[in-house]
């Protein structure tokens, strides 16, 4: 039993518990907070997988920028009326059945296929090889993504106009 295994258990459990609480909690702000926690513990799993840069990006972009946007919109819309509506029992049962069937099938397939049976954790990549890969082979997709961000920004400005038709 190594320290890595213990940390894997802690982070995996934290991620899954936060995911469950995100689905279950009635208040949207609580859901957002649990999503922040789930993302932070996923960043911990990324560190265990030697993806240090991605862990930092995960915390900065997801837990920082994206979730601030979410919470901002929740506060803006003042969503509190979740309490008075009841979810139908039948659709609830059907949803749980569907999701657990998908999860069970995925997990069973992964376990039985034995993809990682002969694989050892071998990639010792830090930030430097990732950056080299990103700016040599993948420089065109990188530029296209920057154009995509610009397009998203223009779209958001257009969508947020007062007299949208």
């Amino acid at each position: 039993m190594q320290a890595n295994d213990i940390f894997f258990g802690i982070f995996a459990l934290l991620t899954l518990v936060c995911g469950i609480l995100l689905v279950l909690s009635r208040n949207p702000v609580n859901s957002a907070m649990f999503l922040v926690l789930a993302i932070a513990s996923l960043a911990g799993l990324f560190v265990l997988l030697n993806a240090f840069f991605l862990a930092a990006v995960q915390v900065i972009v997801y837990a920082g920028a994206v979730m601030v946007l979410f919470i901002f919109v929740i506060m803006l819309l003042d969503l509190k009326e979740e309490q008075r509506r009841k979810i139908k029992k039948f659709s609830l049962a059907l949803g749980i059945l569907t999701a657990s069937a998908v999860g069970f099938l995925l997990a069973r397939t992964i376990w039985l296929s034995g993809v990682g049976r002969n694989l050892q954790p071998q990639l010792e990549a830090g930030t430097r090889p990732l950056g080299e890969r990103l700016f040599q082979q993948f420089v065109l997709p990188f530029e296209i993504v920057s154009v995509l961000l610009l397009v998203a920004m223009v779209g958001v400005v257009l969508l947020s106009k007062k007299d949208l038709r």
């Binding site: 990324f46 972009v61 819309l77 979810i87 949803g95 999701a99 995925l106 993809v115 993948f138």
Partner: protein
């Protein structure tokens, strides 16, 4: 010893939790958060594959996924705000304009 399967199973369970939220919840914002959870599950699987098969391309792909997800979140939230301004509601049950 933690192997690839363990990471992949955590990813699969996380993905199905997100799917459960998308199916069961009726609040548009929470559905959107559950979609983010599903994206993150896919990211975890990609990073795990990248570590165990000695290719760094998986991490490059996760980088792009995070960027595209940020763009997607901004556009989606702007759409939800525009919708709320028009309908005063963020519940999927109230959005029946295209129902026959």
């Amino acid at each position: 010893m933690i192997r690839l399967e363990h990471y992949l199973i955590v990813s699969a369970v996380l993905f199905s939790l997100g799917l459960l939220g998308v199916i069961v919840r009726r609040n548009l914002l929470i559905i959107y958060m559950c979609l983010e959870l599903m994206l993150n599950a896919a990211n975890l699987a990609l990073v795990a594959f990248s570590r165990f098969t000695n290719h760094i391309d998986g991490q490059v792909m996760v980088f792009f996924i995070i960027t595209v997800a940020a763009a997607e979140v901004s556009v989606g939230l702007a759409l939800i705000v525009a919708l709320y301004r028009k309908r005063q509601s963020a519940h999927v049950e109230d959005l029946t304009l295209m129902k026959l």
